[in-house]
């Protein structure tokens, strides 16, 4: 008989994994993720180099000489009536600086042909701001002003090291945060998508009456469990493939992109011998890259992600299965599916707060509570929390799953034969007693 569970699992798994849509999303999603992270770089490279020329009508006669041309903005000082300048199409626009600009920095107008660009506007207002400020400073007549200003500049770079970790290693808090949120979001997606897949698949079987045939050979509980396990296996397959593809891409591409001097500094950082002042690369970036390059750390993250995916999926899929069995159509199901959806959404909403303070007591409790623990725990794990906390949370999660699946099976075997009416509590109890 347990052979039958295996047959159901096998069918669910093969039918789904061999679908074109599954193969496509599995391969394309990691590619897309890499592409999205590369696009800003590409965009910066290929940004339009059209230079826009602005006529400057400077009534104060202080600002114009100090204006410097930017990459895509050029200034030409002119002395013509405003109206004729406005009519002149040769210029992209006219910048009018009022005579009282030093007293009133807002006394400046920009007229443009066509829509204005945010970049240009920012560039112009920044320039004018700094010119006005430096002119105002100059008015105090302080000697060696430039040198004083240079001397007082301070640039703080905080290198952080974990003392409680097994080996003292450099960490990047911001990267922990990003990794944690990314994993929480991934779980959120998987739980909702695959959980609902279980539900719709049960409704479908119920509607096209395949169910009647299957339950004449398989116990309903076995069918439900087989379906949940089969679909769960699909989810695990997908996430494992994603990680494999992503890490191959990153593993191949990263070394090619990183110049040797950067990798030397990365090595120095990890050894704790990096002199921050001499670093030519932003230290945040160094820390981030060194963290991503820490294979042991990444593997442990992935391991926990998979465990929480499995536990969370099994728990939520049982609830979705019970709902699917007790309704006739998707419309009715969408009302009931609020029950499992609300805690999933609540968890993802809390995730950011938890990421900002992963050791708060709220974080601790939410990562133990089984309905939020998968999403919350994966946010906390990258920051490095005691291993026993993780395993207690996993134990609670799986214990709740067993309880839930037992309950769901009771509802399921009544629900699947109920067309158009809800089972009474009395009937539920009677079914529960039947062997």
């Amino acid at each position: 008989m347990s052979n039958n569970i295996w047959l159901v699992i096998r069918r669910e798994y093969i039918e789904r994994v061999s679908k074109k849509s599954f193969i496509l999303t599995t391969i394309l999603t990691p590619l897309l993720m890499v592409l999205i992270s590369v696009i800003p770089v590409l965009l910066a490279t290929f940004q339009s180099s059209d230079t826009q020329v602005y006529a400057v009508l400077d009534r104060s006669e202080v600002i114009a000489p100090e204006l410097t041309d930017g990459e895509s903005v050029k200034f030409v000082s002119v002395n013509m009536p405003l109206d004729s300048l406005k009519a002149d199409d040769a210029f992209a626009g006219v910048l009018v600086i009022g005579s009282r600009i030093m007293d009133n920095p807002s006394d400046v107008q920009l007229y443009t042909h066509g829509p204005g660009s945010m970049d240009t506007e920012n560039y112009i207002s920044k320039q004018i701001k700094s010119i006005v400020e430096s002119k105002r400073l100059e008015a105090y007549n302080i000697a060696n002003l430039d040198q004083i200003l240079n001397n007082i500049k301070a640039n703080v770079i905080l290198s952080t090291y974990r003392l409680d970790a097994e080996e003292e290693s450099s960490t990047s808090t911001i990267m922990c945060f990003i990794l944690g949120i990314a994993m929480a979001f991934l779980l959120y997606m998987f739980l909702l998508i695959y959980g609902q897949m279980v539900m719709t698949s049960i409704i479908e079987e119920k509607n096209n009456r395949v169910l009647e045939i299957i339950v004449s050979s398989v116990k309903p509980e076995q069918l439900m469990l087989g379906k949940i396990l089969g679909i769960g296996l699909v989810a695990v397959t997908q996430i494992v493939l994603w990680m494999a593809i992503l890490s191959t891409l990153v593993g191949v591409i990263m070394p090619m992109l990183i110049p040797s001097e950067v990798s030397a500094q990365m090595a120095a950082l990890n050894a704790g011998s990096l002199d921050a002042a001499s670093a030519t690369v932003d230290i945040d970036l160094l820390q981030t890259m060194s963290m991503l390059g820490n294979i042991g750390f990444m593997i442990s993250l992935f391991f926990y992600l998979t465990i929480f995916l499995i536990g969370g999926f099994l728990l939520y899929a049982s609830i979705f299965a019970a709902i699917g069995s007790s309704v006739d159509n998707i419309q009715d199901a969408s009302q009931l599916s609020y029950i499992p959806t609300i805690p999933i959404i609540a968890a993802i909403v809390c995730a950011t707060t938890i990421g900002n303070d992963p050791n708060s007591s709220l974080a601790m409790w939410l990562s133990m509570f089984p309905f939020t623990s998968p999403m919350i725990m994966v946010v906390r794990i990258p920051f490095g929390i005691p291993t026993w906390e993780i395993w207690v949370s996993i134990a609670i999660l799986f214990a709740t799953f067993f309880l839930m699946v037992w309950l769901a099976a009771k509802i399921y075997r009544v629900g699947i034969f109920m067309y158009g009416k809800k089972p009474s509590v009395k009937e539920l109890i009677r079914w529960a007693r039947y062997k």
């Binding site: 009456r209 045939i213 339950v215 004449s216 009395k426 009937e427």
Partner: protein, 310 residues
């Protein structure tokens, strides 16, 4: 010998009773008709026999012991509402169901190929179910039901959706399975197929077993004092002559002059007496006893039951 004994089975759902103290006995190697109007409780009874639902009270004995989950591999069930996975290929699907019934992959494949050839559907093996017509899908489903050679076969409306040619093929296969030793329970509204196929029947109405027994025996019993007379002449003369002794009758017009009357007379009137009375009133062209069709038995039994209840 009885393969299946259902004794005093009742099943209640919230608000209504699906089965009320139903008993029946299905003998080995027979085709057993389970009849009844819609909503009478047939499907519930079939589900109980299939170990899908549990009875509230009563007992089901299968092959000499109380029915358990392990017996389902000896039962083949074709539900009224047919269902297959639409997106799955026919062959894969048939294999899946066969293996659920405990056949090994190799065994299932050999038997399936055999059946597919016999029903001339071999080239459907790699088609998806959604590409098949309703009748085609039914054939696949029929094969899936019988493939594991169960001792007990349960068909719920097996002929619905089939054209006459395929219905005949199906009938032939059912009889062949019976001859090979299978016992068949057959739930249907199609009374002509009951007459040609069934050995015994049970008629369920309003959750109760209201008529049970051998088809021939029932027809003969209910056919006592029923006669069919064809005649020429005035129907009213005949009816007047028979008077109060006529319990029920129906008249068919055969040709311009000839009519036929099917009638039931009071038991104390002998055949000779009836013939004499009728001959005085009209010109008789033929006379014989008339066995009721299963259709008539079904309708009159159900109506009588419903009237008594009121």
């Amino acid at each position: 010998m009885s393969l299946l004994t259902v004794s005093n089975v009742s099943k209640h759902y919230a608000g209504h009773t699906a089965l009320d103290d139903v008993s029946l006995e299905v003998n080995e190697g027979r085709i057993y008709g389970l009849l009844g109007p819609n909503g009478a409780g047939k499907t519930t009874l079939i589900r109980i026999i299939n170990h899908i639902t549990a009875p509230d009270s009563g007992q089901v004995i299968f092959d000499g012991h109380p029915l358990t989950q392990n017996d389902v591999v000896n039962i083949g069930y074709l539900p009224e509402e047919r269902g297959l996975y639409k997106k799955m290929k026919v062959g894969d699907q048939a294999l899946f169901f066969a293996r659920l019934k405990g056949l090994s992959k190799a065994e299932a494949t050999t038997r399936l190929k055999e059946w597919f050839e016999r029903l001339e559907i071999s080239d459907w093996w790699n088609k998806k179910v959604e590409e098949l017509s309703k009748g085609m899908a039914q054939k696949v489903q029929f094969i899936v039901t019988v493939l594991h050679r169960p001792k007990l076969l349960i068909f719920d409306e097996p002929f619905s959706g089939f054209d006459p040619i395929n219905a005949n093929i199906l009938k032939r296969e059912i009889l062949r399975l019976r001859d090979e030793g299978a016992t068949v329970i057959f739930s249907t509204h199609n009374m002509s197929s009951v007459e040609t196929l069934c050995d015994d029947i049970t008629l369920i109405n309003n959750s109760k077993n209201i008529l049970t027994g051998n088809v021939e025996e029932i027809r003969n019993r209910l056919g006592q004092n029923r006669f069919k007379i064809t005649f020429e002449g005035d129907t009213n003369n005949l009816l007047a002559a028979l008077g109060d002794n006529l319990l029920e009758h129906s008249v068919d017009i055969i040709s311009d002059r000839e009519k036929a009357i099917t009638l039931k007379i009071a038991p104390e009137i002998s055949r000779r007496e009836l013939l004499r009375t009728a001959a005085e009133a009209v010109d008789i062209t033929s006379f014989g006893s008339a066995l009721p069709s299963m259709d008539e038995i079904f309708i009159s039994t159900v109506q009588q039951f419903n009237q008594n209840k009121i």
